[in-house]
């Protein structure tokens, strides 16, 4: 297996330049949606729900919204985005004829996806703070958590992209993987509402530890046990990142 080099920054820069050129065509929508959800669910549904784990409902869901929309950002970037660059625009083919290797290109894609996660997460965090939903200085670490979870979801997205035959195949990814995660990782209600078996299973989906981590940082409920949770996210990141390098080489180098 081959690893990436510092040259992956060149791919990252390419994606960053495109984003800077075209961000207005995409980014505002990506930010508006989580705000709408936060307000609609938090205030609307929250009026019926009352307190969850001793918190107002909107305060309970804010960290989960940060984590899940950070997930969405990296996921869209590194599924549809990566596929368009790879298949339709043949951007990767052009780049691997330069000193960049396939691994540099893929690492650049993943780090860019993670950067998108971080941007999205940070903007929502700022808005949540403006709503006075953030109570702890530990929340300053959230952009870093978003970047790390971005590596996880970007890598899974790239891994899936390396296998798909057609762009329609991404429907499965979102309806069978991403959307269930949105509902079963403790974003909208505590995992304790589920039967024990579902609670246990929900820890193998990568969004669960991320939501847990983000919620702890927002509320200031920080303890050493969180290192385990952090370690779990790190493990997901490393495993899927390496996997995506291998499967993408297999797809691109023929």
């Amino acid at each position: 297996m081959k690893l990436f080099s510092w040259r992956c920054i060149r791919m990252w820069q390419r994606n960053k330049d495109v984003f800077v050129r075209l961000w207005h065509s995409e980014a505002p929508g990506a930010i508006a949606e989580p705000i709408l959800i936060l307000v609609a669910m938090g205030l609307g549904l929250g009026a019926y729900v009352g307190l969850v784990d001793g918190q107002p409902y909107i305060e309970f869901i804010a960290p989960g919204i940060i984590a899940s929309y950070a997930m969405f950002s990296a996921s869209f970037e590194c599924t549809y985005g990566t596929f368009f660059r790879m298949e339709y625009q043949k951007t990767f083919d052009a780049i691997i004829a330069t000193p960049l290797s396939v691994e540099d290109v893929i690492a650049g894609e993943v780090f860019w996806g993670a950067t998108r996660s971080m941007l999205t997460g940070t903007v929502i965090l700022a808005i949540a703070a403006a709503f006075q939903l953030v109570h702890s200085p530990w929340a300053a670490l959230i952009p870093l958590v978003c970047f790390l979870q971005g590596v996880v979801f970007a890598s899974i997205g790239v891994f899936y992209t390396s296998l798909v035959p057609a762009v329609y195949t991404f429907n499965y990814y979102f309806t069978l993987f991403i959307t269930p995660m949105f509902f079963f990782s403790g974003v909208f209600f505590p995992l304790s509402s589920f039967p024990q078996i579902v609670q246990t299973l929900s820890w193998i989906i990568p969004l669960t530890p991320v939501v847990h981590l983000t919620r702890s940082l927002v509320s200031g409920n920080v303890h050493l046990g969180l290192l385990w949770v952090f370690g779990l996210v790190l493990l997901f990141a490393a495993a899927f990142f390496l996997l995506s390098l291998v499967t993408m080489r297999r797809r691109l180098v023929v």
Binding site: R21, L22, A97, T98, V253
Partner: protein, 304 residues
């Protein structure tokens, strides 16, 4: 002469298809090397291996004396590739395409800016520097692809059908640029279907068919060896055909039966055709070209 690219028993297999079949080549420093062959002959597969984007199934490649497998990155840094398919970056403008590409080669920004201006001027794209790629005509895209392939001042330039779809003006612009590279001692590999292009530009031409190289020499030598100086074309009617073929065969002449026409090669003079001239048959004499060699070696049938 020094071989700047050398391959030994190079093969590429895709599942059941053997695209390149034990090709051994030496491409000399500073020459323009033409690769001719019908679609599916294996030209692009060969080029992809030599440019380090596709690993050989078997065999070895050396570029500038170094094994390509071990020095892929260093080798790619001195190569310029102009692909057959347009893979310009549609998310970026014309200038950004070049600048971004320069960055892949780690060229400092200031140097890159200068080179971009030079190349845009050279390929007559100055007015388009801030245009989106979708606003460019097919010919402009092709010129931009060529500009992009030259951004790193490559020592080896590989062009896959560089003038396909270009109008004569643009084609001559490209030819002119390729000739300029000759003066700078840049090695060029040119994949083409355009026989004129190959005959005009290339020092040596390899004719490839079904993964193998069937002929390799200067265009003039290939023509002299496989066809002779001139070709006689005899137009034949279906009922007359057998008689003409039998006559040619009896005289042991070198000919090719192409249905409505029979081509006769390696003839010194019309007299050799004897009584075939006359009888109301239309016989035409013309200079032999690389295209005749191409057909002789790769056949006239459309195989895909």
């Amino acid at each position: 002469m020094v071989a700047v690219i050398k391959t030994k028993d190079l093969s590429k297999r895709f599942k059941t298809v053997l695209a390149v079949d034990r090709v051994s080549l030496e491409i000399e420093e500073g020459e323009c090397f033409g690769l001719l062959g019908p679609n599916g002959a294996g030209k692009t597969s060969l080029i992809r291996m030599v440019t380090a984007v596709s690993p050989p199934t078997e065999g070895e490649i050396w570029v500038q004396g170094r094994s390509l497998e071990q020095c892929a990155r260093e080798t790619k840094a001195v190569m310029g590739v102009v692909p057959q398919l347009d893979n310009l970056d549609p998310d970026l403008t014309v200038l950004q395409n070049l600048m971004t590409f320069a960055r892949y080669f780690n060229i400092p920004k200031k140097v890159a800016r200068q080179r971009c201006s030079d190349l845009l001027a050279l390929l007559k794209l100055e007015d388009k520097r801030d245009s989106a790629i979708r606003e460019l005509s097919g010919g402009m895209r092709r010129r931009l692809l060529i500009a992009r392939g030259l951004i790193n001042n490559p020592r080896i330039v590989i062009l896959d059908e560089p003038t396909i779809g270009l109008d004569p003006q643009a084609r001559h612009l490209v030819w002119h640029k390729l000739t300029e590279l000759d003066a700078q001692g840049v090695t060029r590999i040119l994949c083409t279907h355009n026989m004129d292009e190959a005959a005009t530009l290339c020092d040596r031409v390899a004719i490839m068919y079904e993964g193998r190289i069937l002929g390799l020499d200067s265009p003039a030598a290939l023509v002299a060896r496989h066809v002779g100086r001139e070709v006689w074309e005899i137009q034949v009617d279906p009922e007359d055909r057998d008689r003409v073929l039998a006559w040619l065969e009896s005289r042991c002449l070198d000919f090719e039966d192409a249905g409505t026409h029979v081509y006769v090669f390696h003839l010194d003079s019309e007299h050799a055709l004897g009584e075939l001239v006359g009888d109301g048959r239309r016989v035409r004499q013309r200079p032999a070209t690389l295209e005749d060699v191409f057909f002789r070696l790769t056949g006239r049938l459309l195989v895909e």
